[in-house]
Symmetry: C2
Subunit: 150 residues, 2 copies
DNA sequence: AATGTTTTGTTGTAAATACAGCAAAATAAC
DNA sequence: GTTATTTTGCTGTATTTACAACAAAACATT
């Protein structure tokens, strides 16, 4: 059984630190880009849902989003028939920034796939989807306080 | 061109936070497990080399390793014919801890690959290796202060 | 309807993370 | 051999990250 854990970790760290560095030009600090693009793609989403989607700690996501609000890139609005949830929406400025992020992400994705054929790239996503499902399940249990039998 | 960036990021974050949580039982704080296993596998390695290998910021790695030293899990020794480099070695206690980490990592890897056949798993590593090479190259340039044409 | 459970937002807090920048040693270039 | 460049370790510092814990709202159970 080959090791994919380490490979995935290394690639992810590299891509994340590249993005974080590049988005300093947009006055975005570490991690913020993640949330901003997603909010643009899924306007109205709430923080907890976004955190679960990104597999990020709730409070980490909440604080990062709060900062986006302070910076005027995102808005929180009370949900229509719900006094608890706060729906997230990008501002016009936020949308502009998100376009740059999207472009950069696409570029990075392109670089990552440079040496793969089209079919290989499809295979890769397909396999990663399967991996993701299993890992997500474990993440949820562990985050919920349960322990794994390793 | 399918998106693999996000998939890789999500999987990596999930696995990392699972590990960090589980290793609290070993009194290891966020990130430390990464360095400890590698030092055990490559005794005598220096901090900068390890950081490059893991694709982690130099100073982040340095501080994490320093904490491992303080905790008595790792030792720094002056290199034989070199007054600058500090070679890293695990202590006996460090090696014991590393065994648990290794077991956990193998378990996570196993979980991740549950739904893949043996050949699919091989394919996946093969593809990830190709991805890794390209991404590593970009990481090095960006970390060195150069910018990419996205 | 009343009670118990889950979800969501939020804060306090300790720690990791990553930037810039320094000095000393090592290596490369001349 | 001397000078320039790179490597390595380290520190100061601002910020993010993630834990625990709380309250209020929503939802589920009876």
């Amino acid at each position: 059984m080959p090791d994919v854990l380490r490979q995935i970790g290394t690639i992810a760290r590299a891509l994340d630190s590249i993005s974080n560095r590049e988005f300093q030009q947009l006055a975005l600090s570490k991690g913020q880009y993640l949330y901003l693009v997603r909010i643009c793609e899924q306007p109205g989403i709430i923080a907890d849902r976004l955190a679960a989607q990104l597999q990020v700690d709730r409070t980490t996501a909440a604080r990062a989003i709060q900062k986006l609000v302070t910076q005027g890139l995102v808005e929180k609005r009370a949900a229509i028939n719900n006094r608890k949830n706060k729906a997230l929406f990008p501002t016009v400025l936020g949308q502009r920034r998100a376009q740059v992020i999207e472009r950069e992400n696409q570029y990075s994705n392109q670089v990552a796939l440079t040496d793969l054929t089209a079919t290989e790239a499809e295979q890769l996503t397909h396999l990663l989807t399967k991996v993701s499902q299993r890992v997500t399940a474990d993440w949820q249990t562990v985050k919920a306080g349960q322990s794994r039998p390793y």
